[in-house]
Amino acid sequence: MSGEIVEKVVTYVVSNIVDNPEEIEVEVVEDGEDAVLAEVRTAKSDMGRVIGRRGRVAKAIRTVARAAGDEEGLDVQVEFLD
């Protein structure tokens, strides 16, 4: 497993959405065979931005993260933490 693209993509997207890009942290950890978990940490005040109205932004981030995982043959889950 690598998850390098997943990490790049998720970091890029999230940092473009939040107010405090310097406070985000994206960690991609192995989560079973050919699967990774991307843990996204943001400033508390940015959680709303990352989740979006009715979770729309979070859903879009997950979709794009999975697309990134496909590039590496990985299933991707994304968790948002503050």
Binding site: N16, S45, R49, I61
Partner: protein, 319 residues
């Protein structure tokens, strides 16, 4: 010596109210108002023109109150399509009133945040706004022409307005630039090779990612729609508004449109031959529109939608 300022608002009343708040006044009686520009309606603030008023405080000046607003939780969600109004601040104290009870004035909010006043949502002040120059903004009003003995000239006021203009009022061209930059970075982060272009037509922003970028389309365009959603979010976040947008990636949307038109034509033939109605699989609004438009071109059939998103479907029926 009169304290005066100019303020903008969606209506003359709103502008006056914003000015009053900025001056720390409560009643329109305390000021005289000169309407410099009447408001015009536009689409989501695009092409619209805010009312511009010059408000002069009548003699017997009062000290500004502190925060009067109860705070606002909606105005800065970043999702609202509403354009923030600008409030030209009073030159005297350079102190923003921070009163934003109505959520009308984003710059006011920003100022109040910059000053470390409590965020109305109970979270800590959103510090990144600093990047957008809240500090600058705090000091700027103090540099503003002061009404020493004579009233400041119109010219000075205009200059000041310009200074405040740059942030909330992004043109669709600027929004296009933000979108293209974001998408180029996204394509790059995927390690893909693609060209991003934009086109503006009738106030709609068309974005196109071309090249070896099928990976960004997804099953039935699900990734494409997410990319659009994120692009919209980024534009919203950086320019405080978002235009209507369409996106195509690797020619998918164009092919999809064509396929849907052909499919709609076949269904129309079937309905014309057999009678009865045909319900299509659920589609997103953009796809449904393609079908409706295609059916609308064919005599003898009509179409309507049934169900609720995301399971809303087009039904084709005899006319």
């Amino acid at each position: 010596m009169d304290e005066w300022l100019e303020a903008e608002g969606e209506s003359v009343e709103a502008a006056v109210q914003a000015a009053l708040e900025a001056l720390g006044l409560t009643s329109p009686e305390q000021v005289s108002v000169e309407v410099l520009r009447e408001p015009k309606k536009g689409f989501l603030g695009l092409g619209s023109q805010m009312a511009l008023v010059k408000v002069t405080q009548k003699p017997r000046r009062r000290r500004r109150r502190g925060r009067s607003g109860k705070g606002d939780s909606k105005g800065n969600s970043g999702e609202g399509a509403r354009k923030p109004e600008k409030v030209a601040n009073s030159e005297r104290s350079g102190k923003p009133s921070g009163s934003n009870g109505s959520g009308r004035s984003r710059s006011n909010q920003k100022q109040s945040k910059g000053k470390g006043s409590p965020d109305s949502r109970g979270t800590k002040p959103r510090s990144s706004k600093q990047r957008e120059g809240s500090q600058e903004r705090q000091t700027r009003p103090t540099n503003k022409p002061n009404s020493k003995s004579k009233r400041p000239s119109q010219e000075a006021a205009v200059t000041e307005n310009k200074g405040r203009d740059n942030e909330p009022k992004a043109s669709i061209e600027e929004q296009a630039t933000v979108a293209v930059e974001f998408l180029e970075g996204l394509v790059g982060s995927f390690g893909l090779d693609g060209d991003v272009t934009s086109r503006i037509d009738d106030e709609v922003l068309y974005l196109d990612i071309d090249g070896d970028t099928e990976a960004l389309v997804g099953n039935r365009g699900v990734i494409l729609h997410s990319v659009l959603e994120l692009t919209r979010t980024v534009i919203q976040r950086k320019t405080y508004g978002a235009p209507r947008m369409r996106i195509d990636i690797a020619g998918y949307a164009a092919r999809r449109r064509e396929a849907l038109q052909i499919y709609a034509g076949r269904l129309a033939e079937k309905v014309l031959a057999d009678g009865g109605e045909v319900m299509l699989e659920p589609m997103n609004p953009a796809d449904r529109k393609v079908v409706h438009d295609a059916i609308g071109e064919i005599d003898g059939v009509r179409s309507y939608s049934e169900g609720e998103d995301p399971n809303r479907s087009v039904v084709v029926a005899p006319e």
